[in-house]
């Protein structure tokens, strides 16, 4: 596999060195408390503070938002976020808490926001001071996102919002929400408009956030109810009735297929953060007895572990090949597979780990005899969040078939 720094531009090489130097002294120590698998399951203020402090310090050092323009609080660099991400991963830093802000709200704001709004909102978003959430899904609108019903009624220079959003990750900590609203009931796609709306400052004044509990027992997503919330027209992104086009920018970035590389860190080993990857699977198979022998010696399990390793390596190599235009058949073909493959491969790997663990797969977090601290059942269940959220795997296959293979649209 590749050593990516061998192809750095001079700017990237210098920046990489800066990242390494800074990370060497500033990678935070592991917390004494447990961190969840991802930012989407942050439950306590203590966890949030630790992660927000980390994002802020990485931002101050120029490792977050490096490719955003300076006037919006970015680093004004070119193609450097990927470098920062690689170095943060290598340094095993904690993850960023404001992942919806960084991954979705920021690129959407940058592409479609008015000047004043970008100057006002982006710096605090990039630093993590403001946590963002995404209000797209509703009880009646999931895969068929363009059917959303939450309504914005014109009222002079403002809009009055009423409706019900659901599965809204991080809403309980959020200062702001990107939201897809209906401004016209006579047209489906053309009746949508896109806004940013305040959440924490409007709690009890038109906004109610109610936590929902996941199958894993964790919180992290919510219902958000809007009752006569007034919103200024200046908070609209893109034209009236252009909401769907703006949402496309959000969704592309959400699925790792957008233009801007999302600031992303991680890699920290923590008792409670456990990647459903083959390195961990092999580790488990070495420690586990299966049919009276180490599982790693069982011929059928060996074959299946290798299947996972091959798929995982193939996905890594896809990401590398996506950067070599001469080896692509279609410009978006690999990017559009990313989210689908990442989530499905992790799901298969975790499922296999449960089989390797055998009877011990019944033991969950907190049981002292559980292999890997009971992380595998949690990791396995968590992967369903990823095959459902951000466009289900089925919807991803529709998109791939329709956009890349030009097959007839399913709607």
């Amino acid at each position: 596999m590749s050593e990516s720094d061998s192809k750095d531009t001079p700017e990237q090489a210098e920046f990489r060195q800066h990242c390494r130097d800074w990370l060497c002294d500033n990678t935070p120590a592991e917390p004494s408390f447990r961190l969840p698998i991802s930012a989407l399951e942050i439950m306590t203020e203590e966890q949030l503070k630790y992660l927000k402090d980390w994002q802020k310090s990485a931002y101050d050092a120029g490792l977050v938002g490096c490719d955003y323009p300076v006037e919006y609080g970015g680093g004004g660099r070119t193609n450097c976020q990927r470098i920062a991400n690689e170095e943060m991963h290598r340094a095993k830093t904690p993850y960023m808490p404001n992942i919806i802000g960084l991954g979705m709200a920021a690129p959407t704001l940058l592409h479609h926001g008015q000047e004043e709004l970008k100057k006002h909102l982006l710096p605090r978003l990039l630093s993590g001071e403001d946590i963002w959430c995404q209000g797209f899904s509703e009880p009646g609108s999931g895969s068929d996102l363009a059917s959303v019903q939450t309504f914005a009624q014109r009222d002079g220079d403002a809009w009055i919002i009423n409706g019900h959003k659901v599965w809204t990750s991080l809403a309980h900590f959020a200062a702001w929400m990107i939201i897809l609203l209906r401004t016209d009931k006579t047209e489906k796609h053309g009746g949508l408009s896109y806004f940013v709306v305040p959440i924490s400052s409007a709690l009890g004044q038109g906004v109610t956030v109610k936590p929902l509990i996941k199958m894993t027992g964790e919180t992290g997503f919510n219902e958000v109810l809007f009752e006569d919330l007034p919103v200024n027209d200046g908070l609209r992104l893109g034209g009236l009735g252009q909401g769907w086009q703006v949402a496309t920018t959000t969704l592309l970035h959400e699925r790792d297929a957008g233009e801007l590389v999302t600031p992303r860190s991680g890699g920290m080993k923590n008792a409670a953060s456990h990647n459903a990857d083959t390195a961990n699977l092999i580790d488990l198979a070495r420690k586990t007895q299966y049919n009276g022998k180490p599982a790693v010696q069982d011929p059928l399990l060996r074959d299946r572990i290798m299947q996972q390793l091959i798929r995982e390596t193939g996905l890594q190599e896809n990401q590398r090949r996506a950067r070599v235009p001469a080896l692509l058949e279609h410009p978006a073909r690999l990017q559009l597979q990313n989210k689908l493959l990442r989530s499905e491969i992790a799901q298969e790997t975790a499922a296999l780990a449960l089989e390797v663990a055998g009877a011990s797969a019944s033991l969950y977090l907190g049981d002292e005899n559980a292999p890997a601290g009971g992380q595998w059942p949690l990791a396995y269940m968590s992967t369903y969040g990823n095959t459902i959220a951000a466009g289900t795997s089925e919807v991803q296959r529709n998109i791939l078939g329709e956009r890349v293979l030009s097959l007839a649209k399913s709607k």
Binding site: R302, M306, R320, V324, A326, L407, A408
Partner: protein
């Protein structure tokens, strides 16, 4: 050694790849292939191995067989990624020719050291060749060869010899005393009998070859070492052929799904067609990414070349099977006919799937490397 991020896939490599694609598009469209190799549906026929020798001659003149020959033997010494890019296009065209066989032989000879320089020079001058080392059970371990060398003469039979009817020379792995050595011999040398196999694949030929007191030049003493060193390249190049052919299968089937209408809709509308086609695409992309990683490792990360080649061929074998299955199924009745071109690729892919090891075989070897052998 680390791999360059872009696989070292240079502009020159891209030019080679895309001019090959253009060349086949204008000179060897699929209807020409069908007319050439599928004129006789009689399954009892002995392989007649029709191929476009004149077109192959043009490719020889373009220097395609020189590409992998090291510069020290008057070749071009192109990196494996560039060669893989070309082979992918040969697979896409399913062009019957001894390129792959000659490349395989070249990689083995290049791993032999000085003693094989003469043979390499012959390849640089346009000689074509293939490997003769598989036993009757189809073992991919060359130490299982049934050919024996003693007093400079070869005796025994080599099986599953690829494109034997198209090449000038054999590179034979023969047991000699307690070791194994490699021998270079003309396919029409006295004592050699080539028995063409009747095979499913219409785009290649295959034979078992009898050696009876054949005088041959030894070009390598430690044959197993050279073969082991070249094995990643052999697997990777075949995998490159497979992904090219699979891309043809995908595009052809997607085209059919866009145009064939049933229940008032193009059949690609139905998710029972759409989603598996997407899965074919996903498998091709995985295999393709693994092929370029493996090819790059051959020149830049040789210590891991075997590991990556096992991944590439395992993935390509699965892709060959799945793309073939879906290409016939989604063409419906017409897909089951002799006249429909998907049959040509289906058969080539079933051949490639097992050749030089199927997916499970490669995963077994990969497991030995990654997890350690089972005690």
């Amino acid at each position: 050694m680390a791999q360059p991020d872009d696989y070292g896939f240079s502009e020159e490599a891209a030019l080679l790849k895309y001019s090959a694609r253009k060349f086949f598009k204008s000179n060897f469209p699929t209807d020409k292939l069908q007319k050439m190799v599928a004129d006789n549906p009689d399954s009892a026929r002995v392989q007649i191995s029709n191929w476009d020798k004149a077109l192959w001659q043009q490719l020889l003149e373009l220097g395609w067989t020189l590409l992998a020959v090291p510069e020290s033997a008057d070749g071009l010494g192109l990196p494996a990624v560039a060669v893989a890019g070309l082979v992918e296009e040969v697979g896409r065209a399913a062009f019957p020719c001894p390129l792959l066989a000659t490349l395989n032989t070249t990689y083995v000879l290049a791993a032999c050291g000085e003693s094989a320089n003469g043979a390499l020079r012959e390849i640089a001058e346009g000689t074509t060749a293939t490997l003769a080392l598989t036993n009757r059970a189809g073992s991919w371990q060359p130490e299982d060869t049934e050919v024996v060398a003693s007093e400079g003469k070869l005796n025994g039979t080599a099986y599953f010899v690829q494109d034997a009817g198209k090449v000038d020379k054999f590179l034979v792995c023969a047991r000699k005393g307690t070791g194994h050595s490699l021998y270079w011999v003309a396919t029409d040398a006295p004592g050699i009998t080539v028995h063409a196999d009747a095979i499913v694949d219409l785009t290649r030929d295959q034979a078992h070859v009898d050696f009876a007191d054949v005088e041959a030049d030894q070009v390598c003493e430690d044959g197993l070492k050279a073969l082991g060193q070249a094995f990643p390249a052999i697997c990777t190049m075949l995998a490159a052929d497979v992904i090219g052919a699979a891309e043809w299968q995908l595009q052809t089937t997607a085209e059919y799904a866009r145009t064939r209408t049933q229940f008032d809709r193009p059949i690609g509308f139905f998710q029972a067609v759409k989603h598996p086609l997407v899965d074919v695409m996903i498998q091709i992309d995985e295999a393709k990414s693994l092929v370029y990683n493996a090819a790059c490792a051959i020149d830049h990360e040789p210590k891991r070349a075997a590991e990556y080649a096992h991944m590439a061929k395992a993935s390509a074998s699965e892709t060959a099977a799945f793309a073939s299955s879906r290409s016939v199924q989604f063409h419906g009745g017409i897909g089951y006919t002799w006249e429909c071109y998907v049959q040509l690729y289906f058969k080539r892919q079933k051949h490639s799937q097992m050749l030089w090891g199927d997916a499970a075989w490669h995963r077994g070897r990969l497991a030995d490397i990654v997890l350690g052998k089972v005690s």
